[in-house]
Symmetry: C2
Subunit: 274 residues, 2 copies
């Protein structure tokens, strides 16, 4: 979960996501609207007897915040919480299938952006090649498909690349959090399958957006284009816009494959084939 | 506002109550589901440039809570907040038309209940009596109606009781917060026009309710009856009840004028005539 605004637990109930899953929360900055859902989320998890560890990543201050909530709002935990205060840019966590990177962004207080990056998947498996090399169907195929070299009954070694195409990239999702446009984003978001970008105010309010540490649709779209992202999601839209089509139009002039984020929106990101 | 759970600001927007009005918040106890809406509410008020003072009343700990939120979640205030930690039972605030009283309740942590009590209104005004005493219609009538004695142009003093019936009681609303049944409530809620009572679990789970510091519908109804309250609202219903009619039926066996609280429910409480 990237950022955790007030009411998250209610949305999780509506979305039927569940409170017991493996989960990491990544906070971009210490403003209430990105943070104040955390205490209630944790409390509800505890009420529902969650056992799994919860990892929380965020800028300096997130430890103090959770400590003081724990001290003043009395609740007992049923599961461990590990809080990671981010001190440096770069990779902050790595799991089997993915890692998460962070970079400083440019808001009115210290803030970071995040990239969720899937690791490359083994290349496409060619059964015909396996058959030609006399690899017997079954566990050995599966081992090769998962990218491990294997020894045949006759003693010969077969490597994954002997029976598969080149490894295929995973997916990459970048979430800027609240930010003005910043130069380093281009490299950070390079080739992202999805770029979720601050777009608080429309282009006619560019100066106000700059003052408040936010971006406009055109700026978000330019960043998506420069980074060669595949899709753009405009988010953190100001409550002043009952109708967000004005923002969408402004972005689409520069970057067509854009949508405006909505509650409970689902976006399917296909696995790239090369 | 009595208690301030997560998501209050969203509900205020939906209910169109506004963020700029004169307002006092009364917290019953330091559990997150009664408290965690406060930071976001305050932050949104500041964003909307509220100027009026906000008063927050609550048990020991509410100062620490707001202080640590202010320190860790960075926001700047546009209005003063006065936090009142309740140390003793009795009257905790008094305004022109009403006062608020508190009493210790009986939850798993320190907790209080509140009574909102309107002051008596001047008695019904009788124009005929005023005319008989030669009070000229206009400002002097209005002064007498508001309960002030007045001097006629001829020098005679007329008292409100000369031209009005006996003073009429105001309304009384009692909110228990989370609590097991407790003896002192009967006197505290005596004659309440509305008693809003904890009714977390239904009667078949009385033991569990006792363990968790809550009440059942029958217990709430008995309290309403003993206190001679006029109406009862069951609140803090556990999320396990999709259908709350079972709770309502259990309460109605003892106290018929009962409803189950719902989001955005409005209840009109008529001004009593005597």
């Amino acid at each position: 979960m990237f950022d955790c605004g007030e009411g998250v637990q209610r949305q999780i109930i509506k979305a039927k996501t569940g409170f017991h899953k493996k989960m990491k929360v990544f906070i971009t900055h210490m403003h209430g609207d990105h943070l104040l859902g955390l205490p209630g989320l944790i409390q509800t998890m505890a009420l529902l007897d969650r056992q799994r560890r919860l990892d929380v990543y965020g800028p300096l201050g997130v430890v103090d915040f959770l400590e003081c909530i724990k001290k003043t709002v009395q609740f007992s935990l049923t599961f461990p919480i590990e809080i990671h205060e981010i001190e440096e840019q770069g990779k902050i966590c790595e799991e089997d299938g993915y890692f998460v990177e962070t970079i400083r962004s440019n808001h009115v207080i210290h803030s970071v952006a995040y990239a969720f990056v899937e690791k490359p998947r083994p290349g496409r498996f060619y059964p015909n090649k396996a058959k030609l090399l006399d690899v017997p169907e079954g566990p050995l195929w599966s081992k090769l498909q998962k990218g491990h070299q294997t020894e045949l009954p006759n003693g010969r070694i077969v490597k994954p690349e002997d029976v598969s195409g080149p490894s295929r990239p995973g997916r990459k999702i970048v979430y800027t959090g609240d930010t003005r446009p910043f130069r380093q984003l281009t490299r950070f978001a390079r080739g992202a399958d999805l770029l979720v970008h601050d777009s608080t105010l429309d282009d006619t309010l560019t100066e106000r957006a700059e003052d408040d540490g936010h971006s406009t649709p055109s700026q978000a779209a330019k960043n998506a284009k420069k980074a060669k992202a595949k899709r753009l999601v405009l988010t953190h839209i100001s409550a002043r816009y009952d109708d967000t089509s004005v923002l969408l139009e402004q972005a689409k002039k520069t970057f067509d494959n854009t949508v405006v984020a909505e509650d409970f929106m689902k976006i399917e990101i296909p696995l790239p084939e090369n």
